[in-house]
C-alpha cells in the first residue's frame, strides 16, 4: 500500500517503508541516509501512555471547583464523590451551591434546596445528602455552623470532601 502511495516519493518514505510494516522474514532493506524513526518503539510508548491514562481516568469528572488557596484534608479510605448540594467554606465565607450565605441564613438556603428537590421529585423521600468542602486548616467552630444548619434543615447525611492519599 505504502509503496504505491505518496510516502514512497518523499524523503521519509524509505524509513516508513522499512519500519512501519511488521515483516519478520522480509528481505533486507538498504540502510537509508534519512532520519531513522523507529515506529515500533513509538507505538510501545504510546500504548503505555494510553494504559496509564485509562487507569487514572475518572468518569465522575470535576464535581468540585477547588480554588487555589484551598487544600482539602487527606484520607486513605475515601468513598467516591457524588453530585449533591455543595456547601463550601472559602476564605471564612459560607456558600451554598456558590450562593453566599451567613450562619443565620444557611438553614433557610438549605430548606429552599430541599423544597426544590421535593418539587422536582414528587412522591420521593428526601435523601438529605450534602457535601461539605472546606480547607483542611479551618477550625471546627466554623464547620459547626454548617453542621447545625444542616441538622435544622433535615440533612442527615454529610459527605466531607477529601483528597485520596
Amino acid at each position: 500500500m505504502i509503496s504505491e502511495g505518496v510516502l514512497n516519493q518523499s524523503l521519509l518514505g524509505g524509513v516508513i517503508q522499512n519500519h512501519s510494516i511488521l515483516n519478520p522474514h522480509g528481505e533486507q532493506h538498504k540502510r537509508n541516509l534519512a532520519l531513522d524513526l523507529l515506529l515500533t518503539a513509538l507505538i510501545d510508548a504510546f500504548s503505555i501512555l494510553v494504559i496509564f491514562l485509562l487507569m487514572s481516568f475518572s468518569s465522575t469528572g470535576d464535581i468540585l471547583f477547588i480554588s487555589k488557596n484551598m487544600e482539602l484534608p487527606k484520607a486513605k479510605l475515601a468513598d467516591a464523590l457524588e453530585r449533591n448540594p455543595i456547601i463550601k467554606i472559602d476564605e471564612g465565607k459560607l456558600f451554598v451551591e456558590d450562593k453566599e450565605v451567613t450562619a443565620d441564613t444557611i438553614t433557610e438556603s438549605l430548606l429552599d434546596l430541599r423544597k426544590t428537590y421535593t418539587d422536582l421529585h414528587p412522591g420521593e423521600a428526601f435523601p438529605g445528602i450534602a457535601t461539605i468542602q472546606a480547607d483542611r486548616r479551618i477550625k471546627y467552630e466554623l464547620l459547626n455552623q454548617i453542621i447545625l444548619g444542616m441538622n435544622q434543615a433535615g440533612y442527615s447525611d454529610i459527605k466531607f470532601a477529601v483528597t485520596s492519599k
Binding site: 500500500m1 505504502i2 519500519h19 512501519s20 510494516i21 511488521l22 515483516n23 522474514h25 522480509g26 515506529l39 515500533t40 513509538l42 507505538i43 504510546f46 500504548s47 501512555l49 494510553v50 491514562l53 487514572s56 481516568f57 475518572s58 465522575t60 469528572g61 470535576d62 468540585l64 477547588i66 484534608p73 487527606k74 484520607a75 486513605k76 479510605l77 475515601a78 468513598d79 467516591a80 464523590l81 438529605g128 457535601t131 483542611r136 486548616r137 479551618i138 477550625k139 471546627y140 467552630e141 464547620l143 459547626n144 453542621i147 447545625l148 444542616m150 441538622n151 433535615g154 440533612y155 442527615s156 447525611d157 454529610i158 459527605k159 466531607f160 470532601a161 477529601v162 483528597t163 485520596s164
Partner: protein, 151 residues
C-alpha cells in the same frame, strides 16, 4: 512456466495504529482529572426519632481536646471490661497520638466486634483535618457508622 510463490508473511500497517493511539492520548489528556477527590461519609442524628425507638448498639465517644489529648468512652457494651471503657490518650507535640489512637480502637474492636459506631466530639479549635484523620482511623478499623457532634 514456474508458479510465483505466495508470501505467507502478513504485513501490518502501523500508521493507523499511531493515529488511533494519538487520538486516544489527546482525549485522555484533555479529560484527565489529576486530583483524586473522594468523600468521608457521616450519618448525623437529626432528632426525628423517639429515643425509645433507637436500637442500642455499642458505640465509642471520641472527645478531642484543644491540647491534642483524646478521651475515649465506650458505651452500650458488656464485652469491654469496665476499666477499659474510659481511656485517655496523651498528646504528642501538641498533636493527637495517632498511632496510639489506632491501636486503642483496634483493641476495642477485638473486645467488642459489634463496635461499629464512633461519635466524634471536637472542640471549637479542633482543626478540620484532625477530625477527618480520626474518621479515617475509625474507618480503617472497620467502624462504619460515624458521626460528629455539634458544639
Amino acid at each position: 512456466m514456474r508458479n510465483k510463490k505466495k508470501h505467507l508473511d502478513f504485513e501490518v500497517n502501523l500508521i493507523p495504529c499511531i493515529d488511533l493511539l494519538s487520538v486516544c492520548i489527546c482525549f485522555l489528556l484533555l479529560t484527565a482529572v489529576w486530583l483524586n477527590v473522594g468523600s468521608m461519609n457521616v450519618k448525623q442524628a437529626i432528632g426525628g426519632q423517639a429515643q425509645a425507638d433507637t436500637v442500642k448498639s455499642p458505640l465509642v465517644w471520641i472527645r478531642m481536646t484543644a491540647t491534642g489529648d483524646v478521651n475515649l468512652e465506650v458505651q452500650e457494651t458488656n464485652n469491654v471490661p469496665v476499666a477499659q471503657r474510659k481511656i485517655h490518650l496523651d498528646q504528642v507535640n501538641n498533636q493527637v497520638n495517632w498511632e496510639q489512637l489506632e491501636t486503642t480502637v483496634a483493641s476495642l474492636r477485638v473486645l467488642e466486634p459489634a463496635l461499629n459506631t464512633g461519635l466524634i466530639l471536637p472542640v471549637a479549635t479542633t482543626a478540620y483535618e484532625d477530625i477527618i484523620a480520626v474518621m479515617d482511623k475509625l474507618k480503617k478499623n472497620g467502624m462504619t457508622d460515624l458521626g460528629v457532634s455539634p458544639l
